[in-house]
């Protein structure tokens, strides 16, 4: 894992001091709220419904045990004992006090963390596959490139006042777990005909009020050229992106209005002028970063473990957890363990201070001190010996972290919604809780199979509802919460934007509506089909009929 050197540390330290001064100036009345607002936002400090909110970056979703432990400590000391992991692989605290935030940031800096560029019209935290460095299907670990992107984008002097926020996601695997096609730039690692590894570059994806699946601007860019190519895209966007209307300011709109061919022409022209410049990263430097993410000291093991098999056959709950939450590792004898933050009826993505500390401890014991945050709001211990899985699960389960539901209907993504968010039009958490309770039966969940429900509390789509197999958008209709259902969204390599099924439902009706969709799917699915496959085969009509009948 990447460790800060003195340069990184110095930079975060200077920033922390700078923000402390800015808060002091604000509290003393030397600067107004209007002047202070952009400064606090650049440091991840929002003002929400009930209090301030602090968004802390988890670069490419990777945490060390000491960092996660510190996040737990911060939840206890500066907040009310919990934090919320988000679809951006970040963590948000809901109750920090402005006059204490500089101290919280100092405590974060001690473990090489910060809140820089977690808001504002700049390049945000780069996200990636939560299984990076562990997945059996990966071409190469994407994190060295993510770290290089992190450095390139941190306080980029040219790109700090873009038309709008800018999000980059990277996948090193053909099975996209990072939703790269719905980001401003998505990078998909692959090999070209010459056998070199590089990236397909996808631009103009996004969610929000006008969702788009991104388009390929370049099929292959070599690793050495990646950064100059990113700079070229950003420069074209900074110069030509719309600034007259904030709802049309994302790069997706530029790509949509000008067409991908025109944008490609501009980017290639720009790139041709800078590609041999100082942003070209040579192999030696890349190797240096690859080394920093070198695999941990795996033991040479047989792939199966007799005790593991025995526990599975003796303990049905453990077997269920393995079936849904444990994923194949590239190293024989090891596995990837997903820690669900979606207990039945719980708040998706929330973790208490002690839960964070427990997972930190367990990661040290069983996973080389390595923890990941997923965009589906769960945690991952990426490198666990199969022989240790039972002990790990037992410890997780004792603290309500052993829910066996990864990818199932109760593994719901939900944004904070009106319970916390100042922009919300409806609540989203209670709805996810009701759905989760309705489908709590594990056999039933397993029978339903993979089904991704994603809920947003307003059109900004922080809960990814556009790319949920079933998406739910909370709206306000004459002072009452109501919910619009979309079907057929997908955030994977087969990305698609869901279609609105029809008129919205009241809070009371919507859980029944979801259940009727699921029942219909079970009725009409062909063997082995997931919900999304059935939807793609039969289309909207059969589902519409169960929702609305003759209505």
């Amino acid at each position: 894992m990447y460790r800060y050197d003195d340069f990184d540390r110095q930079l975060v330290h200077e920033r922390t001091e700078q923000f402390r001064e800015q808060v002091k100036r604000r509290l003393a009345g030397d600067i107004t709220e209007e002047q202070f607002r952009p400064l606090r936002l650049m440091n991840g400090v929002y003002l929400q419904l009930h209090a301030y909110m602090l968004r802390v970056a988890v670069p490419y979703g990777t945490l060390r045990a000491d960092q996660l432990r510190q996040l737990g400590m911060i939840a206890r000391v500066y907040d009310k004992g919990y934090g919320h992991f988000t679809t951006r692989q970040n963590i948000q605290y809901n109750w920090p006090k402005l006059d204490e935030i500089p101290d919280a940031l100092l405590d974060l800096a001690k473990v090489e963390m910060h809140a820089i560029q977690t808001s504002g019209n700049c390049i945000r935290n780069t996200t990636t596959d939560q299984y990076a460095g562990a997945a059996a299907d990966e071409i190469e670990d994407p994190r060295p490139y993510c770290e290089l992107i992190r450095q390139w984008s941190t306080f980029h002097p040219e790109f700090t006042y873009l038309p709008r926020k800018f999000k980059i996601a990277v996948t090193g695997s053909p099975n996209d777990r990072a939703a790269v096609k719905v980001h401003d730039i998505g990078l998909r690692m692959h090999q070209n005909d010459a056998g070199e590894t590089g990236f397909e570059v996808i631009v103009g994806g996004g969610l929000g009020r006008t969702p788009f699946v991104g388009k390929t601007i370049r099929d292959f860019i070599g690793k050495n050229d990646l950064f100059s190519y990113l700079e070229a895209i950003l420069r074209v966007y900074n110069r030509f992106g719309r600034r007259d209307n904030k709802y049309k300011a994302r790069i997706k709109i530029l790509v949509h209005e000008e067409g991908i061919d025109k944008i490609r022409e501009l980017v290639e022209e720009e790139w041709s002028q800078i590609k041999d410049g100082s942003l070209r990263v040579d192999d030696a430097e890349i190797a240096h970063y690859i080394e920093q993410f070198a695999p941990p000291a795996f033991e040479t093991l047989a792939d199966d473990d007799a005790d593991f098999e025995r526990h599975k056959s003796e303990n049905r709950r453990f077997a269920n957890w393995v079936r849904s939450n444990v994923i194949e590792h590239k190293q024989p004898g090891y596995a990837i363990a997903n820690v669900s933050l979606k207990p039945i009826g719980g708040i998706p993505g929330d973790a208490t201070d002690t839960q964070m500390e427990l997972v930190a401890d367990l990661s040290e014991k069983y996973s080389f001190g390595d923890v990941r945050v997923t965009h589906e709001q769960n945690l991952v211990l990426p490198h666990v010996k199969k022989a240790d899985l039972f002990a790990l699960w037992t410890a997780l389960d004792a603290d309500n972290l052993g829910t066996a539901n990864l990818g199932y209907v109760t593994d719901i993504i939900s944004c904070p919604g009106l319970d916390y968010c100042a922009l919300a039009t409806a609540r989203s958490i209670p709805l996810s809780q009701r759905i989760s309770e309705r489908f709590s039966d594990l056999d039933r969940q397993h029978d339903i199979g993979e089904l991704k429900i994603k809920i947003s509390g307003c059109i900004n789509a922080c809960g990814h509802h556009h790319v949920g197999h079933i998406g739910i958008l909370g709206l306000d209709k004459r002072g009452k919460e109501f919910y619009q259902i979309t079907l057929g969204g997908d955030a994977s390599q087969d990305a698609s934007i869901g279609k609105i099924a029809g008129a919205g439902f009241s809070e009371a009706e919507v859980v029944d509506a979801i259940e009727s969709l699921v029942t219909k799917y079970i009725d009409i699915r062909d063997g082995g089909e997931r919900f999304i496959d059935t939807y793609r085969r039969v289309g909207m009509d059969p589902f519409k009929e169960v929702l609305y009948g003759d209505r």
């Binding site: 009930h50 319970d419 609540r427 809780q433």
Partner: protein
């Protein structure tokens, strides 16, 4: 005739507050000074927007309320949540005490 009060978030801790009759800020909506009619409401908001309050509170605005017995109750659910706390965490926010 609609009844309104002014709410904001306090600068130092960010918590929800309401403008009271003596010009201070309270965490309890029942302490809020009410205004009836547009003119009174505008005056109330103007008072809350005075530049010197910029180091006390952030973002003052008017909300509609109803008198329910001895309590003031916002008419919009968003504002009800602000006077109580998250509906999904009844142990947190003002509702907890």
């Amino acid at each position: 005739m609609s009844l309104q009060v002014v709410t904001a978030n306090r600068l130092d801790d960010g918590l929800v507050v309401f403008l009271t009759s003596d010009g201070s800020w309270s965490e309890n909506i029942n302490d809020a000074r009410t205004a009836e009619g547009k003119e009174a409401a505008d005056a109330l908001l103007a008072e809350a927007s005075a530049p010197e309050l910029d180091i006390v509170i952030v973002g003052p605005y008017l909300i509609d309320v109803e008198q329910q017995g001895s309590d003031l109750m916002p008419t919009k659910y968003r504002e009800v949540l602000r006077t109580k706390g998250p509906s999904v965490r009844e142990d947190l926010g003002y509702q907890a005490v």
